[in-house]
Every structure is written in C-alpha cells, then in structure tokens.
C-alpha cells in the first residue's frame, strides 16, 4: 500500500479506510505514531480476544438461563447475574465503539494538520501533544468509570427488570430462573390487575401532591421567616434565626425518628400532653389515620425543611440592592408593597431553579416518609401491594424490593419516576448558562 500522503487533502479517504480497518492502523501506517497506534490496536486485540466470552454473555442475557432443576442450587443458571453481566458487556462494547470513533476522528484530524504543515510531526512533538490532549481522558476516567458501573449499569439493569418476571415467589434465582415477559408488568400495573392499578394510581397521585405541598409549604415558610427576620428593627433576630436553623442542622433520620415517637398514637408525648392539658379526650391518630397521617407528614416536613429555604432566601435577599428599597421608601411604599413588588419577585426569580430542585428532591424524599410513618397506615390494598397510606413511589419501590421481592413491579415504578422527572431535568438543562450560551 502506498503510505505516502498527498498534501492537498485528497488522501482523506485512504486514511479513513486504514483507520477503520483496524483501530490505530492509520496512526501507525500514515503518521508513524507507533505508541499511540499501538495503544489503540492493543485495545482492539483485547476485545477480539474476549470476543467468545462477550458473545456467550450476550447470549446468556437473551436467554436468561434455563431451568436445571436436577442440578444443585449453586450450579444452576443465575438469571440475574446473567442479566447484569450482559449489561456490563454492553457497556464495555459501548466504550469500545466510542474509542474506535475517537481513533478514526483523531487520524483524520492528524491528516488535516499534515495538509497545513506539509510535514509529519516529529516524535517529540506528537508525544508532548498527546500528553496535553490526554488530560481530559485522565481527568474524566474516574467519573466515567464510576458513573458507568455504579449508576448507568444499575439503572439499565433496573429498566430491563421491568420487562422480566423477576419476582417472588416463583422467579427468584438461584432456585429458579427469570424470563423476559415483554410488557406484561406494565399491562398488569396499568389496568390488568385491579388492585395494583388502583394502588399505583393512589400512590402516584399522592407522590405529586406530597411533592407540591412539601415544597410549597417549606418555601413559603422559609420565605416568611427570612423576610420577618430581615427587618432590622426586630430585636433578637439573630437568636430567632439561630433557633430556626436547628432543624436543618439535625440529621433528618434522627429528627424523623424522634417525631415518629413523639406522635405515636398510644404512648406518644404529644397526645399525652394534649390529654393532660384537657384539650382532647381521646388520642389523636396522627400517624394511623390515612388522611391525618398525610397531613402530619407535610407538617413535619415543614418543620424539617423550612430552614433550608430561610437560609437560601436570606442569602438572595442580601444580594438585592439597598437602593431599590430606598427608592421604594422615598416613593412612600409601605412594607407590604415593598415585599410584594420588590422582594417577592426578585427572590422568586433567583430561587426558582432551587424550588424546582426541591420539588424533584421531594418526589424522591425517602427519609421524610420512611422514618416518620414507614409508609403506613395500612389501607385496604396494603396486604397485597404493601403500599400504605403515606407511601410515595420511592418508599413503595423500597418495600416492593425488600419486603415483597417484586423487583419487576419496582422497576416499573422506577420508570414512572423517570417519566415524571425527566421534563424537569430537561428544563434544568435548558436554563443552564452553557446551554443558553450556545455551547451545545
């Protein structure tokens, strides 16, 4: 093969073909960049060497193993390991394809420079360039590796499980295998099985109501406190602020467990206090009546959550120019007008993204529900679905996984969370500075 390159750009096709033929070949043949080319080639050799394993794993992923009841449990096909290995192999193949594309692109870029410089780079040049260029790779390698294996692979696995029958009692490896069932779980959850469908509707609705109310109460609670405490005529404002920050400083597991005990229907301190004061005759079922429990979770969440927004609003309010207030004062605006026309719009505008983040956080606020009510009280369908009166989607996922071992239904719920939250993620993305400035 003629390895001499033309300087007018007409050898582009030749480079494209060589570098696509085998990873790194273009670098070696045309540009004499042996080290770089060898690294690329080595990677492809490695993948080719593992090809039989890769194919076997992919095949396992498709079949998910076959029932071998005669074998001892340890030697039977473990469908879940097969599925996870399959996803991991897919991830590795994905990396391979990406590196391949990068290698071809880099060869073409190299050629472009050759056409401009009319000569090949010396070894020294290309090594020092490679070191500079490889910084992003080293810088991102830990992030990419961790995210790939501890976030992406688990999530893809979990999405896959939604299309299998991985659930107790009949399909739990290693005793039994798991099979692909297509859309069966979705059909069951969305109309197929009445109990599950109604539970899903109930929990999904409550998740959204909870997230809206929890965010709104905390935000306005924090806003009001921040505004009141900003008033410089108020004595002791720093002391009050110090007190109000306390719930935020206490780890939430601790405070939720404390509230759970204080509000306990039979022996809780709150009820005993109210009874001894003579304000109530019989215990208030704070956590055992479905509707009251819902109210209680929002109330306690307000207790735990308003300090965050108080801090936040205080922070943004100090950034509002004092001239603005001065001008309003001279124009004769009263306090309420100043609040409505200046403070509120400015603060809302500044904190809007954090309100949305808080909303998505509340959709996933496992701790606030699980440690306070445990998802209880029990309602009519709880014995079958395990979803209680205050369960939100995430706590239900937890119960389905840990208590009922219905991983397939749990995965359907995870996909639902994705559908609810994806628009917010995209919204967040679109308002980032880099998006607005056309970096994308």
């Amino acid at each position: 093969m003629n390895t001499r390159l033309k300087e007018d750009g007409s050898s582009r096709k030749q480079i494209l073909i060589t570098s696509m033929l085998f990873m790194g070949l273009g670098h070696i043949v045309h540009f004499k960049q042996y080290i770089k080319g060898l690294f690329y080639a080595l990677f492809e050799v490695l993948i080719l060497f593992m090809l039989p394993t890769i194919l076997r794993k992919l095949n396992d992923m498709v079949t998910l193993g076959i029932m071998k009841p005669d074998l001892p449990v340890k030697e039977r096909d473990h469908s879940i390991f097969m599925l996870i290995d399959g996803v991991i192999v897919l991830a590795i193949l994905f990396i391979f394809v990406v590196v391949y594309i990068i290698s071809v692109k880099s060869a073409l870029a190299e050629y472009k420079e050759f056409c401009i410089d009319k000569r090949l780079k010396t070894n020294k040049e290309s090594i020092s360039r490679a070191l500079g260029k490889s910084f992003p790779i080293f810088g991102l390698a830990p992030s990419v590796g961790l995210i790939l294996f501890f976030v992406v692979v688990p999530l893809i696995f979990s999405a896959c499980v939604a299309f299998t029958n991985y659930s107790a009692p009949n399909n739990i490896p290693p005793n039994n295998t798991v099979d692909w069932v297509g859309m069966d779980n979705f059909v069951a959850m969305f109309g197929g099985e009445a109990v599950w469908t109604s539970a899903l509707g109930r929990v999904a609705l409550w998740t959204i109501v909870w997230a809206v109310l929890a965010t709104a109460t905390c935000y306005f609670g924090g806003l009001i406190m921040a505004v009141v405490l900003m008033d410089n005529k108020l004595k002791f404002a720093p002391i009050f602020r110090g007190v109000f920050i306390l719930p935020y400083a206490v780890p939430s597991v601790v405070s939720m467990l404390v509230w759970q005990n204080l509000l306990n229907g039979s022996f809780g301190t709150v009820n005993r206090t109210l009874m001894q004061l003579g304000w109530i005759d019989k215990a208030i079922p704070w956590l055992s009546n479905e509707w009251l429990a819902k109210f209680t979770t929002i109330l306690i969440n307000l207790w735990a959550g308003f300090p965050y927004f108080m801090l936040l609003v205080t922070g943004t309010m100090t950034a509002i120019s004092a001239d603005l207030y001065e001008a309003a004062r001279i124009d004769g605006a009263n306090k309420f007008q100043v609040f409505k026309k200046i403070t509120l719009p400015m603060v809302l505008y500044q904190t809007m993204p954090l309100i949305i983040m808080s909303f998505t956080h509340n959709i996933n606020n496992f701790g606030a529900i699980f440690f306070l009510t445990g998802g209880n009280p029990v309602v009519s369908d709880s014995t079958i679905t395990s979803a209680g009166g205050t369960d939100i989607l995430v706590t239900w996922i937890y119960k389905l996984t840990v208590n009922l071992m219905k991983y397939n239904y749990a995965s359907v719920l995870a996909i639902m969370i994705f559908i609810i939250l994806a628009p917010f993620a995209i919204f967040q993305f679109r308002r980032t500075k880099s998006y607005k400035e056309g970096e994308f």
Binding site: F150, V151, F244, P251, V253, L262, V394
Partner: protein, 279 residues
C-alpha cells in the same frame, strides 16, 4: 405619634408569634435532650414535661459500654470523610475538564449526567449489590464509599462546572504561557478560586452519609461494620423501644452538627447564595 404606637404593637405581636414558633421548633429537640438524661427506657414511661423525671447519665454509659456506638461513629466518620474527599477530587477534576476542554461526546455526556442525577440511587440497588459482590466490596466500608461517590458525581460535577465557567479563561492562558501544565493550572489556579463551591460540596457530601440508611443496610452486614443510622434505628424498631438510649446516641451525633452549622452559618448563607446565582 399614633403611628409609632401601632408600630410598637405590631413589633410585639411579631415577637410573640416568633416566640411561639420557636417553641414549636425547639419542642422535639428539647424533648430529645431531656429523654437522653431521663431514667427509664421507652417513651411511654417518660414524663410529658421535659426533665421531669430526674437526671441520669446511664444511657450514655450504656452506649459506650454495652453497644458498639463508638465503632458505629468511627465507621460513619470514615465513610463520610472519604466520600467527601473523593467527591471533591473527582467532581472538581471532571468539572475542570468539562469547562475547559472540548472533545467528542462532551455534549451527550453532560446531558446524560443531568438525567442520571434525577434517579434516587437505590433504584438500581439489586445491580449495585451484585457488582459489589463481584468486586468483593460487600460488607466493606470502601464499597459503600464507592456507591456514595458514584451517586454524588453527576450533580456535583455540573454544579462545580457552572462555577468554573465563571472563572476567566485568560487566567489559565497566562499560566500556560508561563509553562504550567493542566494539572498545575487545576491545582494552583482553578481550585483556589473555586473554593466557595468546593467548601459547599465538601460539606454536603460529608453530611449526607450520616443520614443514609438504605445502602448501609444493604451493603454492611457484620456487627463491626454498622453505621450510626443503622445503629440508632435499631433502638427504636417495632420490636424494642429504647427511646432514651436512642435519644442519647442521637444527641451525641447532633451536637457536633449543630455547633458546626451555627459556626458556619454565615459562610453557608453566602455559599447558598452563590450556588443559587452561579448555577
């Protein structure tokens, strides 16, 4: 004159309301403190008036002598420290690369990270369990640190990247002309300027592991590997109610946190403000 009186009354009313709210906010906290020092075990036997049962230190001695409290504390501290340190390193390095370099797939990687951070990490817990099993990370503290670290990266990389974007590129360029390499620029120029956001990141990733329950529960099995959340939770399960011991243990965790928060309150306010504005 009348106006002034009305203002006075208004102010007094506000003060009274604030005091009532303060009592509401303090109520559970005071009660925990009192429970920690009260004799008896379950919450049912406690007086409804804080500190109404007398005073004892037996729950604290019980914690230190008869339970693994110190081990839980040590484990949690190790996990939190490593998670915090590694998150700072990995996320800020990634943020620097995303902010200053352009490369293939950058766009899709950033969008992917933004989408990934909306999932609670335990959605994939079965797979995480199996992966940790494969790399022998089950029942180890570093396994848990890896899981936390991976979960922290997507969002925090974005957060730090947005901050680094605001640092003028001319600073890097002048350093590069002076012969500094990328790592040097990152360490000596970017990191010091990005300090507010790094501190914020350090604090949030340090505090999160103290409160987490699901992953320790899933990953850590043996008695000497438990964390505080697991240990404390075990005192107030359905089976036993040792609220006073729980309160004593909770108090010992919460006090350093509260002192820390009150000291850093001012920094937190500005950091929050920064995080809000710079995003």
């Amino acid at each position: 004159m009348g106006n002034k009186v009305i203002k006075r009354i208004n102010l007094t009313i506000v003060l009274v309301i604030l005091t009532i709210f303060s009592l509401g906010v303090l109520y559970p906290l005071v009660y925990v403190v009192s429970a920690a020092f009260s004799p008896g075990n379950s919450i049912a036997s406690l007086s409804i008036i804080p500190f109404g049962d007398g005073f004892t230190l037996e729950h604290f001695t019980h914690l230190f002598n008869n339970t693994n409290y110190l081990i839980w504390f040590k484990n949690t501290l190790i996990i939190a420290l490593w998670t915090s340190i590694l998150t700072i390193i990995v996320a800020s390095l990634g943020a620097y690369v995303f902010s200053r370099f352009s490369f293939t797939m950058k766009k899709s990687m950033m969008l992917l990270m933004l989408i990934l951070q909306i999932f609670p990490s335990f959605v994939g817990m079965v797979a995480i369990y199996v992966i940790l099993l494969r790399i022998k990370g089950l029942d180890t503290l570093w396994g848990l640190v890896l899981v936390y670290l991976a979960g922290n990266i997507p969002y925090n990389t974005w957060m730090v990247k947005s901050y680094v974007d605001t640092i003028p590129k001319s600073l890097d360029e002048s350093a590069r002309i002076d012969g500094a390499n990328h790592l040097h620029i990152f360490r000596k120029i970017i990191m010091p300027i990005a300090r507010p956001i790094i501190v914020f990141l350090g604090i949030t990733s340090f505090t999160a592991p103290w409160m987490d329950y699901i992953f320790p529960k899933m990953i850590l099995r043996s008695a000497d590997k438990q964390t505080l959340a697991l240990g404390l939770f075990s005192f107030v399960t359905d089976k036993k109610n040792e609220f006073t011991v729980f309160a004593a243990g909770a108090l010992l965790v919460a006090i350093p946190f509260i002192i820390f928060f009150i000291i850093t309150q001012k920094t937190m306010v500005t950091s929050f403000g920064n995080a809000a504005v710079k995003e």
